[in-house]
């Protein structure tokens, strides 16, 4: 049976798994203690629940529970990792290497670092969205303290060569931080096998609740420390003060446990559905997949439909299908996706992109419906696109002098 509306924006957020909600419920009004209250059963129950969740999270990523610092989400984790390392290792150096396609939470934090006296190198990516490892190694200086490169990209789903990156970091005694928001719970991530020193995770991208996440901070080989960015009661081994969001943490833990059990089979199912969607849409003329198709998350595809504008396209079916576009016609800047532009796409192709993010509750019927709706809308809008008409007449659009505004 076809369920409408169809949610295909799982890189933005995911619904809470009902089992996650169920696990959380008692912690709203029955076990409402403060995990830091050491002298009564309410506090003990909360602390026990947090400890259990810490184990569930740690297990999913092959870490020790002591290495998990709970935060409010990946943005906070990104800030804590980068600013915390910059402050803690100030005597060692002040140089950070990152990549132009990182999430704004990383890029804007790096911009802040530059304002307070740090130096940041922003590595470019190739047409596949991947970095040049030799160039990464060449960018390391004696002052380099951190390499901050995401595990998987939120717009294209492109998975970075994390093992190779960490090997380079190790070789030069530089710490490696990865924002793994899009990867954890979707593909196998193991902090030891992958050589990760710090890692940001978010619960709501993996069927957990919003407002909770974690920063993994390695304790052995090497022992990593970050300077707290918020002053207060010294929670989370002094690295993140603030009363723990027990309910959210319980849900986060449960989401990790479920991911551990179901991730592998889900990845197979979703990659089949994604491939079906992608190959059907690629039947349309002038459709292009953005980013590497080989190194990619199983549930994501980003496609540009040349000569139609992404937001206009979405309006054709957004009552029934939720997804997102690299076009930014509504934002103040009108600038299309910086991620797609970094891959070498022209502004026109970036404006024409749609991101499809499949998830746990996506069905084949929904994919069939999406294929039909998107194909029909692309065809309809091309009929009314002056650019499509010019393309069909063989006019080179670059030969036209556009009135830029």
């Amino acid at each position: 049976m076809l369920n409408l509306p169809i949610y295909l924006d799982h890189n933005a957020t995911t619904p809470c798994d009902p089992r996650v909600v169920e696990a959380m419920l008692p912690y709203f009004s029955s076990h409402y203690g403060n995990a830091a209250s050491r002298n009564h059963p309410f506090g003990w129950a909360a602390e026990e629940a947090v400890d259990y969740a810490r184990e569930q999270v740690a297990k999913l990523i092959g870490a020790d529970p002591k290495e998990i610092i709970f935060t409010s989400g990946a943005t906070e984790s990104d800030n804590l990792a980068i600013k915390g390392v910059f402050d803690m290792y100030a005597s060692k150096g002040n140089h950070i290497i990152t990549v132009v396609t990182e999430h704004k939470a990383v890029l804007d934090t790096c911009k802040h670092i530059e304002k307070v006296g740090g130096e940041v190198t922003y590595m470019p990516v190739d047409g596949e969205g991947l970095i040049d490892l030799a160039a990464l190694e060449a960018a390391i200086t004696p002052k380099t303290i951190l390499i901050a490169i995401m595990y998987a990209n939120n717009e294209t789903g492109v998975v970075m060569p994390v093992k190779e990156i960490s090997a380079i970091a190790r070789k030069h005694g530089v710490l490696f931080f990865t924002d793994a928001t899009q990867a954890v719970g979707k593909i196998p991530v193991d902090v030891n096998k992958d050589g990760i020193d710090l890692m940001a995770i978010s619960a709501h991208k993996m069927y957990g609740p919003k407002g909770v996440g974690a920063l993994y901070v390695r304790r052995k080989n090497p022992r990593v420390k970050v300077t707290a960015q918020m002053d207060g009661g010294g929670h989370e081994r002094g690295m993140r003060s603030g009363t723990l969001n027990v309910t959210g943490i319980v849900g986060f833990g449960k989401a990790c446990e479920i991911a551990m059990q179901e991730m592998e089979s889900e990845a197979i199912r979703l990659s089949k559905l994604r491939d079906k969607l992608e190959s059907a849409l690629m039947q349309l003329e002038e459709a292009y997949v953005n980013g590497s198709r080989e190194h990619r998350l199983p549930h994501t595809t980003n496609i540009s439909f040349k000569y139609v504008e992404g937001e206009g396209l979405m309006m054709g079916f957004n009552k029934n299908i939720a997804l997102s576009s690299g076009s930014a016609c509504t934002s103040a800047s009108l600038e299309p996706s910086y991620v797609l532009k970094a891959l070498g796409l022209g502004d026109d192709l970036a404006h024409s992109s749609l991101r499809f993010g499949l998830g746990k509750f996506t069905t084949e019927e929904q994919i069939d419906y999406t294929i039909k709706a998107v194909s029909e809308t692309v065809t309809k809008l091309r009929e009314m696109s002056p650019l499509w008409e010019m393309f069909k007449e063989g006019i080179d659009l670059n030969s036209i002098e556009w009135a830029h505004h």
Binding site: V308, G312, M315, T330, H351, M384, P386, E389, A403
Partner: protein, 139 residues
């Protein structure tokens, strides 16, 4: 963002999509915007030489729903107007008609620019001087 019913209707059932023969002396064509900016509008008018009345108007637009709806409204309004009357169409009339949100006002400005460009093209073709318009600001 919630769009008005009128806007959605113009997007779903746009009026006057098509192409007029731009080589005809009676046809004026305006092509405004740029692919890099995410919107390109081509608006055409056909003018009755004897009366100066716009007998037909067509458009093709690459852009968001608001840009498509703005072009559709503009072409509807142009038909039956004289060229002089067409020059009085203001982008704020389109904003009002479609209840465009502030971030979409540039779409209406583009439509007004397209009307003016089409009229100027028609004027130049017919030996008249192009009218110099004031800039409506950034869109």
């Amino acid at each position: 963002m919630a769009y008005s019913d009128k806007l959605i209707d113009h997007y779903q059932n746009p009026k006057n999509v098509g192409t007029l023969d731009k080589s005809k002396k009676t046809v004026g064509t305006g092509l405004v915007g740029a692919p890099e900016c995410g919107d390109v509008m081509r608006l055409q008018i056909e003018v009755d030489d004897a009366t100066g009345t716009i007998t037909d108007a067509k458009f093709k637009t690459f852009g968001c729903g608001s840009a498509i709806a703005s072009s559709s409204v503009a072409t509807e309004w142009l038909k039956g107007k004289t060229v002089e009357q067409a020059l009085t169409i203001d982008n704020m009339d389109i904003v009002e008609e479609l209840n465009l949100p502030p971030v979409k006002i540039h779409c209406s400005v583009l439509a007004e620019d397209a009307i003016k460009a089409a009229i100027n093209d028609y004027r130049v073709k017919n030996g008249l001087e192009a009218i110099q318009f004031e800039e409506k600001g950034v869109h």
